[in-house]
């Protein structure tokens, strides 16, 4: 009689983890290849298009890089911000809502501060986004500290409240609604004035937006913050054991409030960057970063370098699937989503297999 059972692996090497992930990606791409073949498409062509994000044979290759960064930067920032709160065992899943709040407040500044010098407007937009979104995070943390509410539910429901509020603003023509184009009968979010559009450094024709540079700098700062600062240390202790944190004389509620403010403010900033880079807002502008960010944060085990890698790969996948679907009339965006879903699912499965192994009981005669 042999039985299979699960055993937690010990002494996992990073190499094995990577091999497992690669195997998972290979398997899901194999399944995808069968689907592609059934649609009469050469999977190799499709995948090479996907992995090169449509860069090959591209008249405007720099545009593809810019497009990729537009997916990557918000995802990176949201994932890091979520990791901050997750590290504290505070389940902030309100990334979507906080992102939109940040974007909308930045937009309000952009629409209202026409005529001011660009840097001033941009800084004001970022501040407005961070403060507004941060205050929402603070409110959630306050409810948690004061009334012990379930932050998962609060932040989850908040996402929908914000989303529908943004939709309302976007679909309601009214004299008070300065978010909309005035010259359009139909409600449409207006374009930001030029001084509110994120500038960049021109490298040839490629425009490296300052928001990209700042997000990379922020990654380093957050890494250092979590790893080396006293506040980062406090977050780790609170996440590990609240009792121990109290014992060590930490003001636990203060730490939760502060960290949630930072976490939400960062997400708000991502929203402001995103709005400023695309010069407008919309209810779908989050590109699901608030949700995907949760996956990224967990896949990377809340480590900042891990988030950098995971966010990069997942953005590559998202953008690559979109780019690859272009050239094939049979493939629509839904198929691209399907591919993306399969690959993510396989990676999460392999994550399980990295943590556990299935073993067969060894029979040894004595």
């Amino acid at each position: 009689m042999t039985k299979l059972h699960l055993v937690r692996r010990t002494g996992n090497t990073l190499l094995r983890r990577i091999i497992c992930y690669l195997a998972a990606i290979a398997i899901s791409m194999g399944i995808g290849a069968i689907l592609l073949l059934s649609l009469g498409i050469n999977p190799l062509d499709y995948y090479s298009d996907m992995l090169t994000v449509g860069l090959i044979g591209n008249k405007y290759a720099y545009k593809s890089v810019e497009g990729f960064l537009k997916v990557f930067v918000p995802l990176l920032m949201v994932s890091m911000a979520l990791a901050l709160s997750f590290k504290m065992r505070f389940w902030n899943i309100g990334g979507e809502g906080e992102f939109l709040i940040g974007a909308m407040c930045a937009a309000a500044i952009a629409y209202r501060c026409d005529g001011m010098p660009g840097p001033v407007v941009l800084i004001l937009m970022c501040l407005a986004a961070m403060i507004s979104s941060g205050l929402v995070g603070l409110a959630v943390a306050f409810l948690k500290c004061r009334f012990n509410t379930n932050e998962t539910l609060v932040t989850l429901m908040m996402n929908y409240i914000v989303l529908y509020a943004v939709k309302y603003i976007g679909e309601t023509k009214a004299p008070w609604n300065f978010f909309l184009r005035e010259d359009s009968e139909r409600p449409l979010f207006a374009k930001f004035p030029d001084n509110a559009i994120m500038p960049g450094i021109m490298i040839g024709r490629f425009n490296l937006l300052y928001s990209v540079v700042i997000s990379v700098i922020l990654t380093v700062i957050i890494y250092i913050y979590l790893k080396y600062t006293k506040q980062g240390y406090e977050i780790a202790v609170v996440g590990d054991s609240i009792n121990t944190a109290r014992y060590a004389g930490m003001k636990v509620n203060g730490i939760i409030l502060r960290t949630m403010f930072i976490s939400a403010a960062l997400i708000g900033l991502a929203g402001a960057f995103s709005a400023s880079a695309s010069a407008t807002v919309s209810p779908s502008m989050t590109n699901n970063a608030g949700w995907t960010g949760i996956v990224v944060a967990w896949l990377s085990k809340l480590s900042i370098p891990g988030i950098l890698v995971a966010a990069f790969l997942i953005s590559l996948l998202q953008y690559g699937c979109l780019a690859a679907s272009l050239s094939y009339p049979e493939i629509d965006q839904n198929f691209a989503d399907l591919m993306q879903g399969m690959i993510l699912f396989a990676v999460l499965m392999s994550d399980f297999l990295v943590t556990f192994k299935i073993v067969r009981r060894k029979e040894t005669e004595s």
């Binding site: 010990t10 006293k230 780790a236 014992y247 040894t364």
Partner: protein, 540 residues
């Protein structure tokens, strides 16, 4: 033996976790209707071995025979089907369920509906083995010993003929332990076999028929209890002779460092846990705190450390009332606090963080730099590891990966490294093996010699009587009296712990435990000390 097969026989069991060999070639036999004690130091592989019997782990090699037949145990269900039940150190109970429902949820063939008479069934079973338990009581309302009783009842209900108890007495009082042993004997009479894991040699001698000894993952020997002595067992266990007597240097008394006046503290549920308590600790002495588990020891410690709200009363440290001050201020005033809770990791340590990070826990905030100073933390961590012989792969390893004893050494080491003038330590040897325990005693004595006032909350009366200078006894949060360790005996302490003997007002001229005003001058103190010493001489 040839006529009757063993209830359990293990042959050549091996188990490896990563690079650690937890069990190497273990052979063990358990007769039907016997109580076998499994003895070994911390980390000697006792719990691992028993977890393999209960199906939580599967052995890498070796075979298990039950009643002479070879079996494979690959899950807890397999184990239960074979009639093996284990009572774990950490209870596995649903807090919001009643006693009966906790038993019911795990029962096989329980059918679809809850049976109305399930309370009756449990009650009958309890009385058969002599348990005292209310089947309707919620687990969250139960005391530790009740929870343990429930765990035992559970495995009996599931039809276990072999019951494994992992350090069952660690959380029990003397009286409760006695009760447990009665139950075990009754189980033995009814044909059950029992394996009991314990560190306490006196209990081994009292309850077991045979003793199996493990050392560092290896099987050493099995001896018949009646043919051995505590000394011999200790030798088997640690592999060398050790001094059994705890050293107690004469105290070098100074002014009371900490004086507790009319202290009242509430517990988490809001009822009075510490009731109008008053006592004092001098520098250079060890004051033991004895009492049945849950008599307010935890709340007292927390109140002193500033972790719990003080309802009424004063805590005077060096002439300053520290009641109500934040924990950080109290720590910085030199009051160190190490509390080993029942789960050993609940308070004072961050289990997923490294030794270095745990060592700096209380002083990470020092200095104006926004960064945590891990450099000095690392030096300190390495020093603690070396000085207290902490077994670990590295100071960067999470403390969760270390065995309980090593975790405690880190915790205590950290507190002592803060060079406190008052050291509050609760259950510092809880679950420690003998070697480690002595290391702790020596450490505490060293602190005492340095003039530190030590408050030692303990559970083993024998140890307290040998280690402490004075013993304060609490019962339901009330002071029952402070006695000199040399002048008392276990019976007197036991009576005080149960509230049968109250010494607070025994002497009319000088009520025990009332501190003299700590604002007295030095000369006056010296006179006080002389008077006390005279009293001791008189009693001797």
């Amino acid at each position: 033996m040839a006529d009757e097969p063993y209830a359990i026989e293990l042959r050549g069991i091996c188990k490896t976790f990563g690079s650690i060999k937890a069990n190497r070639n273990i052979n063990l036999t358990l007769k039907k209707g016997e109580i076998l004690a499994l003895l070994g130091e911390n980390g000697s592989g006792k719990t691992t071995l028993m977890n393999m019997l209960s199906g939580i782990y599967t052995p890498d090699a070796g075979s298990v025979f039950i009643n002479g037949a070879k079996v494979t145990i690959s899950s807890p269900e397999d184990s239960a089907k074979l009639g093996i039940g284990m009572v774990h150190q950490h209870f596995k109970l649903v807090e919001n369920f009643s006693c009966a429902d906790n038993i019911w949820i795990g029962a096989r063939d329980k059918g679809f509906l809850l049976k109305k008479d399930r309370y009756k069934i449990i009650e009958d079973m309890a009385s058969e083995f002599g348990f005292e338990i209310d089947p309707r009581k919620l687990v969250s309302m139960m005391s530790v010993s009740e929870k343990q009783t429930l765990e035992i009842l559970k495995v009996l209900y599931y039809g276990a003929s072999v019951i494994i108890l992992d350090e069952p007495t660690a959380v029990l009082t003397v009286q409760e332990t006695r009760k447990l042993f009665d139950v075990l004997r009754r189980m033995k009479e009814s044909g059950h076999s029992v394996i009991i894991i314990t560190h306490k040699l006196n209990e081994v001698m009292e309850i077991s028929d045979r003793v199996a000894v493990l050392r560092k993952g290896e099987y050493i020997d099995t001896v018949v209890t009646s043919e051995t002595t505590e000394k011999k067992l200790t030798e088997l266990m640690v592999g060398r002779k050790i001094e059994l007597n705890i050293n107690r240097p004469a105290p070098n008394k100074t002014k009371p460092l900490l004086e507790i006046r009319n202290l009242t503290v509430l517990n988490d549920e809001g009822s009075v846990a510490v009731d109008d308590l008053r006592f004092y600790i001098r520098g250079g002495e060890i004051l033991g705190v004895a009492g049945i588990a849950g008599s307010g020891q935890k709340e007292l410690c927390e109140a002193i450390a500033g972790l719990r709200h003080v309802e009424r009363g004063k805590i005077i440290h060096k002439g300053r009332n520290i009641a109500g001050l934040p924990p950080k201020t109290i720590f910085e005033a030199g009051i160190a606090f190490s509390f080993i809770p029942e789960d050993r990791l609940g308070m004072g340590l961050a289990p997923n963080m490294s030794i270095v990070d745990n060592v700096i826990l209380k002083k990470y905030k020092y200095g104006t730099s926004p960064f945590v100073d891990r450099k000095s933390g690392r030096v300190e961590a390495e020093d603690i590891v070396k000085r207290y012989e902490v077994v670990t792969t590295s100071v960067d390893a999470p403390v969760r990966q270390m065995s309980g004893g090593n975790v405690q050494k880190v915790l205590l080491g950290r507190e002592i490294n803060a060079s406190p003038n008052v050291l509050i330590t609760a259950y510092p040897v809880r679950g420690l093996d003998i070697n480690s325990s002595y290391l702790v005693y020596d450490t505490l004595n060293a602190q005492k010699a340095k003039g530190v006032g030590v408050l030692f909350v303990g559970e083993d009366l024998d140890v307290m009587m040998e280690l402490c200078d004075k013993i304060m006894v609490m019962c339901h949060g009330r002071l029952m009296g402070v006695v000199r360790a040399v002048n008392t005996n276990k019976e007197e302490l036991g009576l005080m712990m149960t509230g049968a003997l109250d010494l607070v007002n025994a002497k009319e001229d000088k009520p025990a435990g009332i501190a003299v005003d700590s604002a007295l001058t030095l000369e006056e103190w010296e006179r006080e000390i002389e008077a006390e010493d005279k009293e001791v001489d008189k009693n001797d």
